[in-house]
C-alpha cells in the first residue's frame, strides 16, 4: 500500500503542507476564503528542533493502536487506510494517548481528525505531497521489513 514518508533533510519547514491539508479538507474551492485570517486545523504538522524540520501525519500503522483503543469504535482500518467516523467521536482523547506518532488532534468542532490520505476528499491523493515545493513528503509503496 502507498503511504506517506518524509525526508527530513529536504524539509524547508515552510508549513505549506499544513495549509494544503487544511484547504484540501475544507471542501471549499478557493484557498483564500477557506483559510485566510482563520486558525487552521491541518492533519499534518511540522515538528523539529534546531535546523531539523519534518512533517508528521498518520503512519497508517499495520497494527494501529488507535483503532483498538477508541472508546467509541470511531476509528477503523479498511484496505490499509486508517479512517475516522467523526460523527461517532466523543472527544475523549484516548486515541491521542495511544498513538505513538502524535498523528491525531481535535478539529475545530472538537471531534478528532487524522490524515486519511486525501482519499475521501476532492483531491484523491495527498495534497501535502503534491504541494511540497522540495519533495520532502512522498507518497509511495515501501516494503515492510520482515
Amino acid at each position: 500500500m502507498k503511504r506517506i514518508y518524509v525526508k527530513e533533510e529536504w524539509c524547508l519547514g515552510c508549513h505549506l503542507c499544513e495549509y494544503n491539508c487544511a484547504f484540501a479538507n475544507s471542501g471549499q474551492k478557493d484557498m483564500a476564503t477557506a483559510l485566510k485570517g482563520k486558525p487552521i486545523y491541518p492533519r499534518i504538522h511540522i515538528e523539529g528542533k534546531d535546523a531539523v524540520t519534518y512533517a508528521v501525519s498518520c503512519r497508517h500503522c499495520a497494527d494501529p493502536l488507535c483503532v483498538k483503543s477508541c472508546i467509541a469504535g470511531a476509528i477503523a482500518r479498511t484496505d490499509g487506510v486508517v479512517t475516522i467516523d467523526r460523527s461517532r467521536c466523543v472527544g475523549c482523547l484516548t486515541c491521542v494517548l495511544v498513538c505513538p506518532y502524535g498523528a491525531l488532534a481535535p478539529g475545530e468542532d472538537g471531534a478528532m481528525q487524522k490524515c486519511e490520505l486525501c482519499l475521501q476528499n476532492a483531491c484523491g491523493a495527498p495534497a501535502c505531497v503534491a504541494g511540497c515545493p522540495n519533495g520532502a513528503i512522498v507518497f509511495e509503496e515501501r516494503e515492510a521489513e520482515a
Binding site: 523539529g48 508528521v56 483498538k68 475523549c92 494517548l97 515492510a144
Partner: protein
C-alpha cells in the same frame, strides 16, 4: 473443526472473535451474551445521558459483524459453570456447550457493599450497562437530587452524564480525594475544583453508614436527602466461573502473556482477567478498553492455534470532565519531574533510566509519545528527555529513530 465458545459479549469478546478469525476462517464460534445486545462501547453510556452519543452509533462493530464472522450469539443467556474435564460450558437454561477452546470475556460487575438500610432506598442504580443508563435516564425525567457513592472514574463520568438533567449532584467517597486510583493529591485537587465549578458537590473522606429511605446518614455525622442513589464504589472482575472450575484467580483470572489461564484450553481477556503490568512487573486487572481489545485479540489468535503474545500492557486512561482533559499512564514510582504550563501540568515518573508513568492535566497534545516510551521501555539516555517533557515531539529522538518512525512501514 475446532469449536470456540466465548463467555461474555463486550469489547474483549469482539477482539477475541477477530483474533480467532484471523487464523481460522470457519470453526464455529458461540458467544454467550448476558446482555441482550451486540457488543457496544461501554464508556459511551455517560455520553448517552449527556445526549452526545446516539444509540445507533454506540455499537462497537458494524451491524453485520456477527454474520460476517459466522458467530452464533446467544442473547440473554448466562454461563453458570465450566467443566474443564468434559470441556463444556453450562448455561442458565441447562444447555451444555462443548468447546475445544474457551475464552472468558465476562468483564466485571459493580461492587455493592452491604450498606445498612440499602433495601429501604426506593431509587437506586449502578452504572455499568446500557440498561443502567436507560434506567437512570428515566429516573431523571423530572429534576432530582442525586447522591453518587464513589468518586472514581465511573462515579464521576456518571455525574457528568447526569449534570445537565438533575437539580443537584453530591458525590461522596471514603478516599480523601477524587479519582484516587489514578491521580495524586495535586492532580485530584485540580480536577475536584474544576468539577465543583460545574456544580458538583463533594463529601470526601466520608461515606454512608446507613440509609433510611431517601436519607443517607454519613460517617462524619451529617445527613443528606436525595431522590436518586447511584452506587459506584468499584467493580469486581467476573472470575467466579474459572475459580469454581479450579483455575487460578487473584483479583481477576490469572493469565500469562498468551492469555492462557491455568486451566487447559481456557483463556481469559478484558476486565475479568489479570495479566502482567509492564510498568510495575506485577499482575493487575487493567479495566480499560484498549486492554480488553488487545487481550481479546491475543486470546483469539492463540485459541485458533496461532501464536500471539501481549507483553506491553500498562494502565492508562484518557478522561475528560466538562472540557478538562486528564491523561494518566503507568506507575507513579521513582523520580518525579513536574512541568507547570499556562494551560495545565505534566508530571513524569522515572526509574532505572526509564519512564514509568505520567499524569497530564490540561496538557495532552501528542501524549502517545510518552505512552510509547513506557511501553517500549525506551532508555531515556537515548533521547532528549528535557525537551520531551516540555513538548511531546519526536524531534527529541535520534535521527535514526525518526527514520524508523517516518521512513518505514510501521
Amino acid at each position: 473443526m475446532k469449536r470456540y465458545v466465548i463467555i461474555g459479549n463486550g469489547v474483549a469478546a469482539a477482539g477475541c472473535i477477530e483474533g480467532v478469525r484471523s487464523v481460522d476462517p470457519e470453526g464455529p464460534i458461540t458467544v454467550v451474551s448476558a446482555e441482550p445486545r451486540p457488543a457496544y462501547c461501554r464508556p459511551l453510556i455517560s455520553y448517552y445521558l449527556e445526549g452526545k452519543a446516539a444509540p445507533e452509533k454506540m455499537n462497537y462493530r458494524p451491524d453485520d459483524f456477527y454474520d460476517r464472522t459466522g458467530c452464533r450469539v446467544l442473547y440473554g443467556k448466562k454461563a453458570v459453570s465450566i467443566n474443564p474435564a468434559a470441556k463444556t460450558v453450562t448455561l442458565d437454561d441447562g444447555e451444555a456447550l462443548p468447546y475445544d477452546a474457551l475464552c472468558m470475556a465476562a468483564g466485571s460487575a459493580p461492587f455493592v457493599p452491604p450498606f445498612e438500610g440499602l433495601d429501604t432506598v426506593p431509587e437506586k442504580y449502578t452504572f455499568m450497562t446500557m440498561d443502567d443508563a436507560l434506567a437512570l435516564e428515566q429516573a431523571t425525567e423530572t429534576p432530582k437530587d442525586v447522591l453518587i457513592v464513589g468518586a472514581g472514574l465511573i462515579g464521576l463520568k456518571c455525574a457528568e452524564g447526569l449534570s445537565g438533567r438533575v437539580k443537584s449532584i453530591t458525590v461522596c467517597d471514603l478516599a480523601d480525594r477524587v479519582l484516587s486510583s489514578i491521580l495524586d493529591e495535586d492532580g485530584a485537587k485540580t480536577v475536584q475544583t474544576h468539577l465543583e465549578q460545574h456544580g458538583l458537590r463533594f463529601l470526601l473522606g466520608d461515606t454512608v453508614v446507613r440509609f433510611d429511605g431517601r436519607t443517607a446518614h454519613m460517617k462524619n455525622g451529617g445527613t443528606l436527602s436525595f431522590d436518586v442513589l447511584v452506587l459506584a464504589v468499584g467493580v469486581k472482575p467476573n472470575a467466579a466461573l474459572v475459580k469454581d472450575a479450579g483455575g487460578e484467580v487473584g483479583r481477576g483470572i490469572a493469565v500469562n502473556e498468551r492469555m492462557e489461564t491455568s486451566l487447559p484450553d481456557v483463556y481469559a481477556a478484558g476486565d475479568c482477567a489479570e495479566g502482567e503490568d509492564l510498568s510495575c512487573g506485577r499482575r493487575r486487572v487493567l479495566a480499560i478498553m484498549p486492554n480488553a481489545c488487545l487481550q481479546g485479540r491475543t486470546a483469539g489468535v492463540n485459541m485458533a492455534g496461532g501464536n500471539a503474545s501481549f507483553q506491553n500492557a500498562i494502565p492508562m486512561n484518557a478522561i475528560g470532565f466538562f472540557g478538562l482533559h486528564v491523561m494518566t499512564a503507568g506507575s507513579y514510582t521513582g523520580e518525579v519531574f513536574a512541568e507547570i504550563t499556562e494551560t495545565g501540568s505534566k508530571k513524569f515518573f522515572t526509574q532505572d533510566g526509564l519512564l514509568k508513568g505520567f499524569i497530564l492535566i490540561g496538557e495532552t497534545q501528542r501524549a502517545g509519545l510518552y505512552t510509547a516510551l513506557i511501553r517500549n521501555r525506551t532508555p531515556l539516555a537515548d533521547i532528549d528527555f528535557a525537551l520531551l517533557r516540555q513538548t511531546a515531539t519526536s524531534a527529541a529522538f535520534s535521527a535514526s529513530a525518526r527514520a524508523d518512525m517516518f521512513g518505514k512501514v510501521v
